[in-house]
Amino acid sequence: MTGTPTLAVENLETHFFTKAGAAKAVDGVSFTVAKGEIMGLVGESGSGKTVTGFSIIGLVDPPGEIVGGKVLFKGEDIVGAPEKRMQKLRGDRIAMIFQDPMMTLNPVLRIDTQMIETVLAHEDVNKETARQRSRDVLAQVGIPAAEERMKAYPHQFSGGMRQRVAIAIALLNKPDLIIADEPTTALDVTIQGQILYEAQKLCRETGTALIWITHDLAVVAGVADKISVMYAGRVVEQGGLNEVLDHPVHPYTIGLLGSVPGHNTRGHKLHQIQGMAPSLLSLPKGCAFQSRCQFADGECDQTQEISAPVPGRTVRCCHPQVEAAE
C-alpha cells in the first residue's frame, strides 16, 4: 500500500482514573489501517477494544483520558486536538457505529430529523438536499419505502432496521474511516451476514477504511483483511486474516481459536483457556497473559516488546509458537 495510511495508531494509552486507582484500559496499542482496508479488532470483554475505538474518535469521557501515544488520521495527530476540530471530523470524515441500536437513536426525535441534522452539521446545503441524500442512503442500506419510513420514530423499527439506520447515518457524509463497535452483535445471523457482505462491498468500492470491533472471531473471518488481537489493553498479535487464523502464534490467539466449538472433536471436552483476565487496575508486570499461559516462564515477567517472528506478523510474546504454526 502506498501513501499515508488512513489511520495510524502509535502506542496509544488511555487510562481511567478511579477511586481505586488507574485502570489501564488501553496500554500501548499500535496498528495501521490503509485506504479501503478492513481491520478486525478482536478481544474479549474488558480487553480495551471499545475504549480504543472511542479514543480514536475522541469520545473518551472522564474519568478516562488519553495519556500517551498518537492517533494519526491521514497523517494528522488528533490526540488532544481542539474540540472544534474533532467536531468537524466526527460524522464527516470519521464515523462510528455503536453496539446497541436500541439506545443509539434518540427516542423522541424522528429518524429523518436525526439523519438530516448529520448532513447539515457538516455541509452547507438546504434541508431538501439533505433529506434527499438521507433517503438515498437509507435505500442503499436496504430499508424499504425509505421516504415513508424516514418519518417514523426509532421505537417503530426492529433491531435490525435500527442498526441499518445507524449504518446509514455513518455513511451519509462518505467518511474516510468507519469504526464499527460490535455492530451486528445484537442482530440475528442472517442479517449479520447481509451487513457483513455489504460492508465489504462498500469498502472496496469507496476506499473507506473500516475497523470492525468484535469479540466473535467468526464474524471477522468472513470480512476482514487483517486482524489485531487485543488482551488486557494491549495488542498481542497482528497480521493478515488468513495467516493469523491458520497459523496463530501468540498463545492467547491459539487458545482463542482452539476454544471455538467448531474446532472441537466430538465427544471431547470443549477447550477453555484456564483462569480469568486480570483486573485492569492491577496488571502484572510483563506479559498480562502469563498466569493463564501454558508456555509461561520467568522470562514473561519482562516487558514484552513487539517482535516479528514471521514476516507480515507482529506479536507481543517471548514464546511465540512459531514452530507449532508450521
Binding site: 460524522g91 455503536f98 443509539t104 426525535l109
Partner: protein, 325 residues
C-alpha cells in the same frame, strides 16, 4: 387517541360525582345541616321556613338529588355574608387566582429549567452547587413566612413594591387582568414570586436529575459522534427528553399552585378564590365553602385531563401506542 380521551373523560366525570357525594355527606350528615346552611342569626320561624324550602325534612336521597339538580343548574346556595349566589362569588374571583397561579408557573419554568439544566451539565461548579443549595432552601422555606419577609423587606423597609391588593386592572376579552397595567404588575410581582418559589425549586431539581440521567445515555454520545454541535445537543436532543417528565409534574402541580394560592393570597390580601375561602372558613360561610370545593374539583379534573393529552402529544411512544391499542 380519541379512545384515550374518552376513557379519561369518563374517569373525570366519575371523580367529580364522587366528590359531590363526599361534599354532600360532609355538609349534611357529619355536620348539622341546619347550622351549616342556614344563617345562624335567623329566628325560629325563619329557620322552619328554610328547612322546608331547602327540603331538609325530606329523605336523604331526595336531598342529594336536589343538590345535584341545583348544582347542574349552577345554584349552590347563597353566601351568608354577601347574600349573593356562592357560585357567582367564586367565579368572579377565578381570574385573579389564575393570573397569580399562571404567573407563578411561568416564573418557575422560565427560571427553573435553565438553572436545572445548567446544574445538571456542570454539577461540580460553584454556581451549580449554589443553585442546588438555594433550591433546598426554596422548598424548605414555608411559603407564608417567605411572603411575610418579602413584605417586610420590599414593602416596608425599602418601599419598592406594594404589599397588598391587586392594584389597577384592565379589561381584556371582558376579564380584568393585572399584568396589563404597570401598577397591576407591581402588585403582582411579589405574590407571584412567593408562590413560584416552591415550584421553582422542584423544577430545578427535576431538570437537573433529568439532565444528569439523559447526558449519559448512548444516544447523546452518538449525537456527539455525528459531530452535532454542543448547542443543538443541549437544546434539541436533551431538552425534548427532559421536558416530558418536567411537563407531567408541572401540569399536576398547577392544580397544587391554585390550591396553595390560598396562602399567598392571604398574606398579600390578593382578592382571589383562596382568600375567599379562608375568610369563608373563618366566618362559617358554608355555602361558599361547598361551592369552592365543587369548583376546585372541577378545575383539577380538567387540569389532569389536559396534562394527559399534552403528555401524549409530547411523548411519541405513548401517542403511537394508543393508536394501536
Amino acid at each position: 387517541m380519541s379512545v384515550f380521551i374518552i376513557r379519561r373523560l369518563m374517569q373525570s366525570i366519575l371523580v367529580v360525582w364522587i366528590m359531590s357525594l363526599i361534599v354532600f355527606v360532609g355538609v349534611n350528615i357529619v355536620g348539622d345541616p341546619v347550622d351549616m346552611l342556614i344563617n345562624p342569626e335567623a329566628d325560629q320561624a325563619e329557620i322552619e321556613r328554610f328547612i322546608r324550602d331547602l327540603g331538609l325534612d325530606r329523605p336523604l336521597h331526595e336531598q342529594y338529588w336536589f343538590f345535584v339538580l341545583n348544582a347542574l343548574k349552577g345554584d349552590l346556595g347563597n353566601s351568608f355574608i354577601f347574600n349573593e349566589p356562592a357560585l357567582k362569588l367564586i367565579i368572579q374571583r377565578i381570574p385573579a387566582t389564575f393570573e397569580l397561579a399562571i404567573s407563578a408557573l411561568l416564573m418557575a419554568v422560565v427560571i427553573g429549567i435553565p438553572l436545572g439544566v445548567y446544574a445538571g451539565l456542570k454539577p461540580d461548579t460553584r454556581t451549580s452547587k449554589t443553585i442546588m443549595a438555594t433550591s433546598i432552601l426554596g422548598f424548605s422555606l414555608p411559603t407564608f413566612w417567605v411572603g411575610l419577609m418579602m413584605i417586610m423587606v420590599f414593602a416596608v423597609m425599602l418601599g419598592w413594591l406594594p404589599s397588598f391588593g391587586r392594584g389597577e386592572t384592565e379589561l381584556l376579552l371582558g376579564i380584568e387582568f393585572s399584568f396589563l397595567t404597570m401598577d397591576g404588575l407591581a402588585h403582582l410581582l411579589l405574590p407571584a414570586i412567593n408562590l413560584s418559589l416552591f415550584k421553582m425549586s422542584l423544577v430545578i431539581r427535576l431538570a437537573r436529575a433529568g439532565t444528569r440521567e439523559v447526558v449519559h445515555q448512548d444516544y447523546i454520545k452518538f449525537a456527539r459522534a455525528k459531530g452535532i454541535s454542543q448547542n443543538r445537543i443541549i437544546f434539541v436532543h436533551l431538552m425534548k427528553n427532559i421536558l416530558i417528565p418536567v411537563v407531567t409534574v408541572l401540569g399536576l402541580e398547577f392544580g397544587g399552585l391554585i390550591a396553595f394560592s390560598v396562602v399567598t393570597e392571604t398574606v398579600f390580601s390578593w382578592p382571589g378564590m383562596g382568600k375567599l375561602i379562608i375568610d369563608a372558613l373563618h366566618n362559617l360561610d358554608r355555602p361558599v365553602v361547598v361551592a369552592y370545593l365543587m369548583i376546585i374539583v372541577l378545575i383539577f379534573v380538567v387540569i389532569n385531563l389536559v396534562v394527559d393529552v399534552l403528555y401524549s402529544i409530547l411523548d411519541p411512544r405513548v401517542r403511537l401506542q394508543d393508536l394501536k391499542g
